[in-house]
Amino acid sequence: MNDVADVLRRLTIEFTEFEGRLEQTPLIRKLTRGRFELADYRAFLVQLRQQVKDGALWMSRAASNVGEDHLELRSALMQHAVVEHRDFTILESDYVATGGALETIRSGEKNVGSEALSAWMFHQASQPDPFGLLGAMWIIEGLGSIKAQEWGRRVKETLGLPDDAVRFLLYHGENDASHIEEFKHMLALVLPDEAVARRIVKTARVTARLYALQIEEILP
């Protein structure tokens, strides 16, 4: 019960529960009900920036803690980090394109959920062979491939913004079509292994919970 398909099943359950939890947050409710305001979008971008900026950093740290038995996974994490480590600047230019000041998003403070999420990620990434983070990637990249485009379209429609103010959300959705195949490959590098399987699912659950907390705290 610990091969790739079993873990993917448990991860899919975690993701659907996560999605249900997000749907109930005040911010996403406002978005799906067509009541989103520019201030909501800006607050959202500020929190996303913190988390996206940290993303490539914890991934690099995780890569540096992957042992010699898993060099291919180490390469994959490093490549991921390289591809994504400047993505937060897209959020900055999106923010500026909405009429916001660059300085404001750069000096934005992490909310309670973002703090907790970031601390959790770096803590996990600092463990030897931090394979549990595959579960965190499943949640965060799942957002990119499943939710980002939907959110981006709604933001654009509701606020009447130009494309260049919603690039991060729209662009993420386009980018992640082969996401699940790559992810299956990464899982196969560390599975089957009961302890690792449990760790991946647990890390997904905690990450999802803290991510949702970050969204909840944007519009409490």
């Binding site: 993917l8 099943r9 899919t12 799906t32 499943i146 699940i180």
Partner: protein, 374 residues
């Protein structure tokens, strides 16, 4: 001590002759006399090729919803070797009954003409079928009734006539109906189905192993609904009952509507619930011999299949059985139409397991019923 419950008969009723895709729009009528731009796409999505309507093009009605249910119950009783006089409990399901009040079960009972009965009305969407089945099954199990029937019927077409939409906010200046309404117009049709449940098996009976119904309504806004406008559907204080029927109709708040974007999320949630059942060992895909899945759109099936394959939750496609293509999507009645057809095909062998899956987009619900041939 609970007894067991067995499905000893199943019945189906479809009104009139089948109506093919090239005749359906003419049958229902064209909105402001114009062909729907969306209709062909909707038909490709839903995969339906033929259906039945209880309303003729001239507006005359061959059967009410309750009539169709009563006929299906009679047929199910006949299959079980019983008559209407043997029935003591009737649970009836529908999305929209003939009247707003009283409940559907009372209307079906009257149409059935049986003596005094215990009845239960279940109003939801497709999942109402399993709610009624569970009520009937549990009353048999509890020893309160020896012959219980669960039926489900839909008379969707009466809401699909052009006059119902024309002059409302759902039709734009160029005479185009909102896709939220048009999709359902090209998807749903009429009919009824029923099962009979008894505490003892007969040859060919199906033992009910479990009926699990899971609502996720607290997660999502309404996904398929009638009674509110598209924009205000999450705010029940603005619903039709507050605006009054005439204003509500003009605002487009009475017609049945479907949100496709939300539907995609709801589908993922259904898959999540199913995979939880697999994870918990409640459903073992490899042990299922027949999968009767009431899916509302063929186009969504491919997406679900790939996700289930990746997660070892897939039941091989050769084990799927459906009558959607030839009998249409009849909402709550569909699962009984499928079960009746599978039983009539004589293909179920003793010991085989039949899994019925009834997702309901209404406000995100999914039901599972596991049967075993005895």
């Amino acid at each position: 001590m609970l007894r067991e419950g067995f499905i000893t008969g199943a019945g189906a009723f479809l009104p009139g002759a089948p109506v093919s895709n090239d005749r359906m729009e003419e049958h229902l009528g064209r909105i402001q006399g114009r062909a729907s731009l969306f209709g062909k796409k909707a038909l490709r999505w839903n995969g339906v090729e033929s259906r039945h309507y209880a309303m003729a093009p001239d507006g005359s009605v061959s059967h009410t919803n309750a009539d169709m249910c009563a006929r299906a119950v009679e047929r199910a009783l006949e299959q079980a070797g019983l008559g209407v006089g043997d029935l003591s409990m009737l649970a009836a399901a529908t999305t929209q009954g003939d009247y707003i009040v009283p409940g559907h079960a009372a209307m079906v009972h009257a149409a059935l003409g049986a003596g005094p009965l215990e009845i239960a009305s279940m109003q939801s969407v497709c999942g109402a079928s399993l709610m009624a089945a569970k009520a009937a099954w549990l009353s048999v199990r509890a020893g309160e009734h020896d012959v219980a029937a669960a039926c489900a019927g839909e008379f969707s077409s009466r809401w699909f006539r052009p006059g119902f939409y024309e002059g409302t906010a759902l039709v734009d200046d160029e005479g185009r109906l909102r896709p939220e309404a048009d999709f359902l117009r090209f998807t749903l049709s009429d009919g009824a189905g029923a099962i009979v449940i008894e505490p003892r098996p007969r040859p060919g009976a199906l033992k009910i192993r479990f009926i699990d119904i899971v609502s996720l309504a607290s997660r999502f806004d309404p996904c398929m609904w009638a009674g509110s406008t598209i924009a205000d559907r999450a705010d029940a204080t603005t619903a039709w009952s507050h605006a009054g029927p005439r204003a509500a109709h003009a605002a487009g708040a009475i017609a049945l509507l479907q949100d496709f974007e939300l539907l995609k999320k709801v589908i993922r949630a259904w898959v999540g619930v199913y995979l939880e059942k697999v994870e918990a060992g409640r459903i073992v895909p490899a042990e299922v011999d027949w999968a009767l899945v009431h899916y509302s759109a063929k186009s969504l099936r491919a997406e679900i299949v790939s996700l289930l394959t990746d997660t070892a939750g897939m039941i091989p496609e050769e084990k799927w059985f459906s009558v959607l293509r030839e009998k249409g999507n009849v909402g709550a009645a569909s699962i009984w139409l499928m079960l009746e057809a599978l039983l009539a095909s004589g293909r179920i062998e003793r010991g085989q397991k039949v899994l019925c899956v009834v997702p309901e987009s209404g406000r995100a619900l999914v039901g599972f019923m596991m049967l075993e041939a005895v």
